[in-house]
């Protein structure tokens, strides 16, 4: 059964006189537990699509459903709650609050969720350990490398206990070694916690880790492939 369902998602941007059609009637379903990559050249609509799925942007037409929840029908406040409890986000860079330590950054979302002190601390340490950063958890972002910062962002997304994690080019600012390390972390967490991941990339090595590759071009899905599972097992 599908966790995420997109039906006829279109997005038009108006830039002065010109209208840009960023997405053309996208239909897509993502099942629970999938580790899927959204690939395509720059400008193909990856960010736009992820923002619409995350409720950060509204589609011009079409519907987004997570389980039974119709996102396009939610109020601003309900969307905010939806993101807080159901979604995790990892962006390209500068995901963290600079004045908070790695640990505090991970705990932040859980404070907003209203989890207890004790639970927060335990979960934060657990996920920081899983991404290999427990030893550095008292450092602020400025004292962490780009790759470490991205791993903290992944730990933060997962510690909130989301159903779906959206990552928009999470490795774009990383060298290949760090990029692979981040993907490894994400993949293991996805398997261990049975969390659904949808991430965008245009890095072939990152694509190679995905179980499913959805290719966008000019706002349309041009291919949707499942390379054999052996490659990532």
């Amino acid at each position: 059964m599908a966790l995420l369902t997109l039906e006829g998602i279109s997005k038009r941007y108006r830039q002065g006189e010109v209208e840009v059609q960023a997405l053309h009637a996208i239909d897509l379903t993502v099942a629970e537990g999938e580790f899927a990559a959204l690939v395509g050249p720059s400008g193909s609509g990856k960010t736009t699509l992820l923002n619409i799925i995350g409720g950060l942007d509204a589609p011009s037409s079409g519907q987004v459903r997570l389980d039974a929840t119709e996102l396009t029908a939610l109020s601003e406040a309900a969307l905010s709650d939806f993101r807080l409890f159901q979604l995790g986000f990892v962006f390209q860079a500068y995901n963290l609050v600079p004045v908070l330590s790695a640990l505090e950054n991970v705990e932040l979302v859980m404070v907003l969720q209203g989890r207890s002190d004790h639970e927060r601390r335990a979960r934060a340490e657990h996920y920081l350990e899983l991404v290999g950063l427990k030893a550095l958890m008292h450092r602020r972002p400025a004292a962490l490398s780009g790759g470490q910062q991205q791993r903290v962002a992944v730990a933060r997304a997962l510690a909130a206990g989301p159903r779906l994690v959206l990552a928009d080019e999470p490795t774009a600012n990383l060298d290949s070694e760090n990029a692979e390390a981040l993907l490894d972390s994400m993949y293991h967490l996805a398997r261990e916690e049975r969390i659904t991941f949808l991430f965008s990339t245009h890095d072939p090595r990152v694509m190679a880790r995905a179980e499913r590759i959805i290719t966008l071009r000019d706002g349309q899905i041009v291919s949707d492939q499942r390379p054999h599972a052996a490659a990532t097992a």
Binding site: G54, D57, S80, F85, G114, S116
Partner: protein
């Protein structure tokens, strides 16, 4: 899927926002320090201004009450209206009031217009007769001497052999007439019985400037001397009253009114002189009371202007800060931060800036205000007699008065204005579109 929510969650959220705001405050320490300095400077200006103004106002009240007026005065209505020489309060009234209301200090007075002549010149004079024993318990008028000694008794030795009553004259009058302590002057007046009253007096002392009219025309003498000159055997024009505590002014005034009503029943007054009327210092010196009110309003306006200007710096800082952090705020909104929490965070930050400024401002302003209160600003080199402003004479040393509640009010004003200034950046923050700022 359900996430347990603890009862303390909203508080923890508030604490978290406060925590982030506090950390953000020190993100750009130089900018925060500059912003805080501007607020601290403004606050200190307000505190010092308030302290000087309060000092001046207290001096005004003191002058209005201690030097000549007292806290309350009793007259006959006809004396108030026409300075009617015959509109006197019976002498018994003084004794009754002193007996029935022992906490009040009462000084009787009499007045008359006269012509004062020295060897060289004649000028118009205003005679004020006081009781040399009671007067010092009510006012300090007899101690504000520039030269000579405060004696209103009979002087044994004068150039013309016979003993003379001493008088004390106003500074300007002494100058205009060319008289100094030890000199003689003649007073000519129309006595109560219609005859011409005149006598020779000895100047015992010259007063410091107290009140412009009195300064120019005043001649102080004893009530005994007055009765001889004026052939007025009894009664007083004025009873000046001092309270131990000005805080009980309203109740004491009412008691006096009741007492006078009772006295008038026992011993009815002649109808010509009218009722006995009690007035407090604010009624007696409305110019002073109005000036106090005006000064307070000016203080509030000045406070708003100074603190408002200083908080423009804060407005600028916070606008810059939220602009720089729009990406960060976009991330926070994306991960589920509510707009109103973000708004609260920005307001917390402004409030913290203002709190730090209020703390530092009071810490620095209090000792400065204390210095002004204890040492004051000394103008005596250029103005040895003080200065006269709107009929009120100020001492040459301008002293502040430290009223702690004013410091608290200045701090509250700073916090309020800062909070007001934080609304704009907070509003900017709350309108961020995460999809746009995260691109």
């Amino acid at each position: 899927m359900s996430i347990p929510t603890t009862a303390a969650a909203p508080l923890q959220r508030l604490a978290l926002l406060l925590f982030i705001a506090w950390r953000n405050l020190w993100r750009n320490p130089a900018r925060s320090a500059l912003t805080i300095s501007a607020l601290v400077g403004g606050l200190i200006v307000v505190i010092l201004y308030a302290s000087l103004l309060e000092g001046m106002m207290r001096q005004m009240v003191r002058y209005a009450t201690e030097v000549t007026t007292g806290h309350l005065q009793i007259h006959r209505q006809a004396y108030i209206d026409d300075r009617d020489l015959y509109a006197t309060l019976p002498s018994d009234y003084l004794a009754h009031i002193e007996h029935d209301l022992p906490t009040l200090h009462v000084a009787p007075r009499l007045y008359a217009a006269a012509l004062a002549s020295s060897a060289t010149t004649s000028v118009g004079a205003l005679i004020e007769a006081v009781d040399p024993v009671r007067e010092p318990a009510v006012t300090t008028m007899l101690s504000h001497l520039r030269r000579g000694e405060a004696s209103l008794g009979l002087s044994a030795s004068t150039s013309s052999a016979a003993s003379r009553y001493n008088v004390i004259v106003g500074a300007q009058l002494a100058k205009n007439m060319g008289v100094a302590p030890g000199d003689e002057l003649v007073l000519v007046t129309q006595a109560a019985d219609g005859s011409i009253g005149n006598d020779l007096y000895r100047v015992a002392a010259v007063l410091k400037p107290l009140e412009p009219n009195f300064d120019r025309m005043g001649v102080l003498m004893s009530i005994e001397a007055y009765r001889q000159l004026m052939s007025l055997e009894s009664g007083f024009h004025e009873l000046a009253i001092k309270l131990d505590d000005i805080g009980t002014l309203a109740t004491d005034q009412q008691q006096l009114v009741d007492e006078l009503a009772a006295l008038q029943r026992q011993q009815p007054l002649d109808t010509l002189g009218g009722e006995a009327v009690v007035r407090n210092w604010q009624q007696l010196t409305p110019a002073v009371a109005d000036m106090l009110q005006l000064s307070r309003s000016m203080l509030i306006i000045l406070g708003f202007i100074v603190v408002g200007l200083a908080s423009l710096g804060m407005l600028n800082t916070m606008l810059m800060a939220v602009h720089e952090r729009s990406h960060e705020f976009g991330i926070l909104l994306a991960i589920g931060m509510k707009r109103r929490w973000l708004l609260l965070m920005v307001m917390w930050e402004s409030l913290l800036l203002a709190l730090v400024a209020a703390l530092l401002g009071s810490l620095l302003g209090l000792p400065l205000a204390h210095y002004l209160a204890t040492h004051g600003i000394d103008f005596s080199a250029s103005m040895p007699d003080g200065y006269d402003w709107g009929g009120i004479v100020f001492e040459p040393v301008m002293r502040g008065y430290l009223e702690p509640s004013q410091v608290v009010q200045a701090c509250v004003l700073t916090l309020l204005v800062s909070l007001l200034a934080s609304l704009l950046p907070a509003w900017h923050t709350a309108r961020l579109k995460p999809a746009e700022v995260l691109r």
